[in-house]
């Protein structure tokens, strides 16, 4: 994947992480998709056994099949949309900044940037059985000057990322000493 299409990298900027949500967090969507795929099959067998005369009518049978086709295509679209929502949420960490790209829906996309040297607090939280077992969780990043917080949601190894972010922020702070002094005045 070429990051240059997503962010305009500065000449001294190197990408350290590209983070996506942990793949396990997509499993409930796959489960829901499987259940939704089985609904028309179950409904067809129920109707065929309970009211066989209804489906014997050719017009009703054709309408039922067309409705089934619409239902299946809508289910594929729902699944694909959920995948886009899942997969296009990404967090890019460079040696200069953090770029938070969140796809909320098909026509709603938010991109937030944060300079590493402005980071004040980094919190990693792992909640729940699955998160603990499979080592994924949230990383919340707060700055001193802004009330906004960037949260990496359900990313793998949140503790490791927290440590890396703190060390990257320290390095970047040394590089931006002048900017920090100006901010202080």
């Amino acid at each position: 994947m070429s990051v240059s299409n997503v962010i305009h990298q500065k000449d001294y900027e190197k990408v350290v992480f590209i983070l996506h949500r942990h793949s396990l967090t997509f499993v409930p969507i796959i489960g829901l998709f499987t259940i939704l795929m089985l609904v028309p099959v179950v409904l067809y067998f129920m109707l065929n056994n309970l009211f066989p005369e209804v489906l014997a009518n050719p017009e009703v049978h054709t309408s039922f099949m067309l409705f089934g086709s619409v239902y299946y295509l809508s289910t594929y679209l729902f699944f694909y949309g959920r995948f886009i929502d899942f997969y296009l949420d990404m967090w890019i960490v460079t040696n200069d900044r953090i770029v938070d790209i969140e796809q909320h829906s098909l026509f709603h996309r938010e991109i937030t940037e944060l300079d590493l040297y402005r980071i004040q607090d980094v919190t990693a939280s792992v909640r729940g059985v699955f998160s603990t077992l499979f080592k994924y969780g949230d990383v919340a990043i707060k700055t001193a000057s802004s009330t906004s917080t960037i949260v990496f949601r359900n990313v793998p190894n949140p503790n490791h990322i927290r440590e890396q972010l703190i060390s990257l922020a320290d390095e970047d702070r040394k590089y931006h000493m002048k900017d920090i002094a100006l901010d202080g005045n």
């Binding site: 997503v6 017009e59 309408s63 067309l66 086709s69 619409v70 299946y72 699944f79 694909y80 098909l106």
Partner: protein
């Protein structure tokens, strides 16, 4: 008795197909525009595309044998 020509159902289905194609293309455009075409996103896109083709093929198998010039009865007093 209230009835409509049966081909009306086919037109409604075709309108739905147009909407489906537009939304699928917008989804795929998002993957391309954000440079997220990886093995994972390609596999999911291929799966959705293959399922769509299969569904459309089986739908075609059914609707190609239907006489669309007949009327679809929506309400008939003889039903009661």
């Amino acid at each position: 008795m209230i009835s409509i020509p049966f081909y009306t159902v086919l037109f409604a289905y075709l309108i739905f197909l147009c909407i489906f194609v537009i939304f699928s293309l917008i989804n795929f455009y998002h993957i391309i525009a954000t440079s997220s075409l990886t093995f994972v996103s390609f596999t999911i896109t291929f799966l959705v595309f293959a399922l769509t083709i299969l569904t459309l093929y089986f739908t075609w198998q059914i609707i190609s044998q239907v006489n669309w010039s007949q009327n679809l009865i929506l309400f008939d007093t003889n039903w009661f």
